[in-house]
Structures are given as structure tokens and as C-alpha cells.
Amino acid sequence: MKLRLSSSCAVIAYTLLVVVPLWLAIDRLIWVAGFDPLGWINSLNGNYISQGVVAFTFLQALLSTVVTLVIGLPIAWQLGRYKWPLQSLIKATLTMPFVMPSIVAAMGFLHLIGPSGLNIRIDDTTWFATLIIAHAWFNLALVIRFCEPVLSTLDPNLEEQMRLLPAGHSKIGRFRNLWVPLLAPSIAAAACMTFVFSFTSFALVRWITLGDNTLESVMANIGSSAGIPNYMLARNEIILGASLIQFTVLIASLWLMSWLQHRRQNLLPQASEFTVKRVNHSGWMIISPAVIFALSPLIAVFWASFRIRHTDSTGTSYSWETSGWEFAFAGSSSMSSAWDALWNSLGYAMITLCIALPLGWALAQTILDVEKERPKTARFLDVLTMIPFAASSVMIGLGVMLGMIRIDAEFFYSFWPTPVIAHVMITTPFVVRIMLPALRSLNPIYDECAQTLGIPAWRRFMSIRLPLLRGSILVAVIFTLAMSLGEFGASWVVTRNSDWTTLPIMIDSLRSIPYNNTYTAPAACAVSSVLMGITLLLFTWAEKFRPARDGGMF
């Protein structure tokens, strides 16, 4: 089998851009801390910085997963089984939180529960509960995207047949013998992904809890002193220990997810949504609060960007002004303006797109090309492209940072496109995941037919392949742009020693300014609103082009 030139180039480029920086980083950390995996893990509880972090990370991820399922499943059931006016708008609203940058969500929840909102921020317990609810808000889309299609397109004959059988005479019987077995793989897959995202949560943990840490936030906080010989050696051990646990847990979850998704894709008898869905008026009791839940944090962000706090000897008062927006866009000697952050973010997103899209597409095509004749090689490539999923954004940021130190720190810290490396590492696997099912579902007979019509390769690509893949390509483009624009964890680690502020970094910096500045919190919300607006625009656009029954998760 001949491997195309583009395939070889893609594999080499991916290895250089993604695998090598991570390998260099681990190599550097081991060189400084020594090779002792058990010692690394033990160091997590032996050091005050990371004490209790492992337990907290697991606990909050497990609780978040349970709460997400409890909230998400009734919504998915209602959306999948019944007809709703403005159905696509409702679905888009409920799945939108997943594409929102996590720092925007953090700002939204801070204001929702804070003095300007519900004012229920009391102690550690309310902080923790807010974190769990915020994770549920963020991951709600996963439960809907995984379960709703099974419910909405399953041939109704199955349920009708079950009704006529003794095992399905009662609702409970049908639930136990039909719906649970059919939905179990989808629910489990959604639970796996929710667990992964909650386990690696950074911005929400950083901003919503009172100084609690997950493995991810510990790594981010102490990352700047890692990789330096004879300097704070214990921190290198903590990072290695955290990475090891995180990598193992994430790999196991992703493997489970991939296995479940494979089971999920086993063909179920399908029918049109029109024949499956019925009208159900009482379902509004679930759908209405769900829509309010999905929109509240976003409205809170926008609302709070205009609310200015004034404190004087007589007490605290609030006024409605645009000063927060003006403060954000004016900038100062110690803070870039939102314009600079916007241009940096857009610049990074565009460069990321130019690299990640062709790279991810070529990798997906390579996996497809080799999987018939060399399934093991294809599986290896598939896993290789998923490494960044199992590495989390902060680990990727550390990888890039330590890789830079190892190669040429001075050059990389003065090189404006440096953060793009981290963005490419994070977005390329998503492009692969979007393009691979699209390429798999493209019937090769179209290309063969075009060949027999005498159409040359380039024209076949332009007039057949490109238009047939258009929907998936656009979704990949929009996803890459949205992810790069909202990327926080890796950028926070990589740009810490530079002046290249992005929109999420600027939000974080504004919120970090002491609270006595009246304008910083509204300014952070103003920048969040800009980011939210762009993401909303991109998301609405993506929804328009998403192929029906695309089989992907994004």
C-alpha cells in the first residue's frame, strides 16, 4: 500500500508539533526530578501545596458527572421524544454552554451567585455546590448530544412491539427492557466525557472555589517554577505525579468512551423524527427551567458589564454605565486594551486554523487510508491523535513552555505566534474527530464514478469531495476558531512570561486586580461579553452546517 505524500507530511508535522514538545517536557521534568513514579505520586500528599488535591479532583468530577446526568437526562428525553415549537432554537440554546469558553462561564456564575445576582455566596459549601452546578451547566450539551438522537430517531415500531409483549405492558417494563438497554451506551459515553471535562476543569475551579485545587489547577499554579535544575525540586515531582494520575485517568476514560461510542454506533432501526415525536404540553415544566438555566450565566455576564459599584463613606451603591466597557477597551500602562487582546486572539485563531485544519484533515484521511489494510497502524495513529485529549490544556501549556525552554527559550518568548503551538495541539484532535466520521461516511463510489467520467484528481477534489464534505469542514473551521479564541489553560501557562494577552487571559487578569478598583469586574464582564458574542455567532453558524446524524460528538 502506498502512503500519500500528504499523509507522511501530516504524520511528521503532527509528531513535531504535538508529540515532541510533550516528550521534551516530560524528559526535562524527569531529568530534574529523577525517575520515580511512585515518589511523584506520593509527593502530592506530602506537600502542603497539593495536599488533598487528588481526592478533591475525583470527588468534584464524580459529583459533577452525577448532577449533569440528573439534570441532562430529563431534558434529553423531552427533546428526543416530543415535538416542540422552535425545536432547533431550544436545542441550540441548551447545547450552547459546551462551546462557551470556560472563563466566560466562570464569570457568569460568579455574578449569578454574587451580590449583584442571587447573593447566595456564603461559605465553602456554596462555593463547592456552585462549582458542581457550573460543571453541569457546561456539560449539559454532552448528555443531550449523546442521548437525544437515539430517542428522536429510533423506529417507533420497536416500542409498539414492546407494548404488545408481556415484558413491555407497563411503562416501567418498557423503560427497563427497551429504553435502559438502548440508552445505556449513550448515557455512559456522556458520563465519561463529563467526567473527563470536570476532572480537567481549570478556569471554573480557579474562579469559583475558595482556593480549592484540582490536579489541573495545581499544575498551572506551580508550572512556572518547573524544569529548572536545583530549584524547587518538589514542584517538579508534584507536576509529574499530577500528570501521571491525570494521564492514566484520562486515557482510561477516553478508551472507555471510544469503546462505548463504537457500541453506540451499532445501527439501531431508525425512523424520521416526524414519525417518532409527539406533542407533550407538560414537558414545558422541564424545558422552560432548562432554557433559563442555560441562559442565566450568560445574561448575568452581559448584565454585570454595565453595573458599576460605587463605595464611599455613606456605603455602597450601584449605577448603570458603560464605563466598564470603556475601561476594558482603553487599556492602561499596566494592562493591554481589549482591542489588543481581540487582535491577538483573532490572529492566533486564524493561524491555528491554517495549521490545524489541513493537519487534522490529512491525519483523518491517513487513518482512513491505512485502516483497511493495516488496522493496527490505523488504531495507533488514532490513539496518537487523541494524546492531547488525555493531556489536558494545562499539561499541553506546560509541554510547550518546557519544550521552549529546552530548545531556545529566548527566541520562543519573543516570538509572537508561540501560543499557536499550544492552540494547534489542542484543536487538531478535534478536527480529526470531526473529519474522520465525515470522511468515513463519504461513499467512495462518488469518486469512482467521477474517475470513470474522466475527471482529473484536482477537479474531483474541488467539485465532488469539497462540496460533499462542506458541512463537516465548516463545523471543523468554526470549532477550531471558537476553541482557539476561548482557550485559557494552555495560554495562561504559555503567555505568563509575555505581553501577548488574549481575550480569556485579559478576563483573568482583570478579575485578578484587587476589588477596590470599581471598573475591573465590569470590564472583565465586558471582555467576556465580547468573547461570548463571537462564540455565539460562530456556534449559530456551525449549527446551520452541522450534517444530520453526523455521528460525531462536537
Partner: protein, 195 residues
């Protein structure tokens, strides 16, 4: 015209071995055989979508065995009509020949006024006619037909067999039909070969 010398192809089992074929200008032949005997694979080898294990293929005395499919000048009509769903009927036909007379091609297959129709609105028989019009518009030196009538009901199939045959004869376009249906083979072709 078209000459196949000692074509051999096997996948898990041997499909055909030392197969010879000679097709004269304007001649229509049919190849019959049971399912799985390699009829479709033989056509795919002739048009270049599969590589034969051994043997050679000549078209107008030129060795085309190693030419890519798009450079052979051999057309193929698939079992089910392959129409590109993102294009209209006209768009599909123009793929065969950018400067072709679409209206005339559609008229020839009895589908005048179908130019702007979406392909998903076509019935099986209409789709197969559009595929035929597109293949002919590409002006192939030889047209291969892979059981194009098998998915149609008897009445429609009989009509299409006669229509396609007369179009090919009018154009003096040589053709090879593979089918498992001996009656269709005899009605369509000048001669019938068993594989």
C-alpha cells in the same frame, strides 16, 4: 477496439482467470454469471478502478492496463445510479462534459425538462437515465454497464433496456453489460458470454 488479454483477478478466491474479450466498434456484448463470480470486478478492472493480477487491456490498440481510470476514456454505469447529491441534474451532466449539450442529452434519454431538478427527487429509472445521459455526454470510447436494470421493476427495466440499446446503437458506442439475468442479456446485447 477493446481487447482484454488473459485477465486474471482474485481476492480471497479466484474470480476469473485468463479471461479474453474482444469488442468491435459499435458492438454490444453481455457477460452473465451467478452472483459473486466476478462480473463487477471484471468491469472495474477494464475501467481502471481495480488492478488485474495479470493480463492486459488494449483500447484502440493502445495498452491502457496501467492508465488511471480517469485517463482511459471508458465509462461505467453503476448498479444503482450514482448521482452527486449536491448538484442538480444539469450539474451532474456537466461533470461529464463541461461544454456538452445538456438539453439534447436529456432529450435523448427521454428526460426533457429535467435540467433543473434536484437529484433526490428522481425515481430509480429516472436516476439511471440521468446517469446514462451523463456517461454518454462524456463521450466514452467504450461504455460499461454494471447491472443497471436490476433494481428496476420488470416493465421499466424492459423499456430502459430497449431505450439504452437503441441510443448506444445510434451513437455506435460499443458497450459491455454484466448481468445475472439472461433474458435482459439477450434482449440488450448482440452476443452473450458466460463468466
Amino acid at each position: 477496439m477493446l481487447k482484454c488479454n488473459s485477465l486474471t483477478k482474485s481476492f480471497d478466491k479466484k474470480l476469473f482467470s485468463e479471461f479474453d474479450l474482444e469488442l468491435e466498434p459499435g458492438e454490444i456484448i453481455a457477460i452473465t454469471g451467478p452472483s459473486g463470480c466476478g462480473k463487477t470486478t471484471l468491469l472495474r478492472c477494464i475501467c481502471g478502478l481495480e488492478e488485474p493480477d495479470s493480463g492486459s487491456i488494449y483500447l484502440n490498440d493502445k495498452d491502457i492496463t496501467n492508465l488511471p481510470a480517469e485517463k482511459r476514456g471508458v465509462g461505467l454505469i453503476f448498479q444503482n445510479p450514482v448521482l452527486f447529491p449536491h448538484l442538480s441534474v444539469e450539474g451532474n451532466l456537466l461533470l461529464g462534459n463541461k461544454k456538452g449539450d445538456v438539453a439534447k442529452a436529456l432529450e435523448e434519454v427521454g428526460l426533457s425538462e429535467f435540467q433543473n431538478r434536484r437529484v433526490e427527487s428522481l425515481s430509480g429509472g429516472e436516476g439511471q437515465r440521468v446517469a446514462l445521459a451523463r456517461a454518454l455526454l462524456a463521450q466514452p470510447k467504450v461504455l460499461l454497464l454494471d447491472e443497471p436494470f436490476s433494481s428496476l421493476d420488470d416493465e421499466l427495466s424492459d423499456k430502459l433496456v430497449q431505450d439504452v440499446r437503441s441510443i448506444l446503437k445510434q451513437r455506435k458506442c460499443p458497450a459491455v453489460l454484466v448481468t445475472h439475468n439472461k433474458i435482459i442479456a439477450e434482449n440488450f446485447a448482440d452476443s452473450v458470454i458466460s463468466l
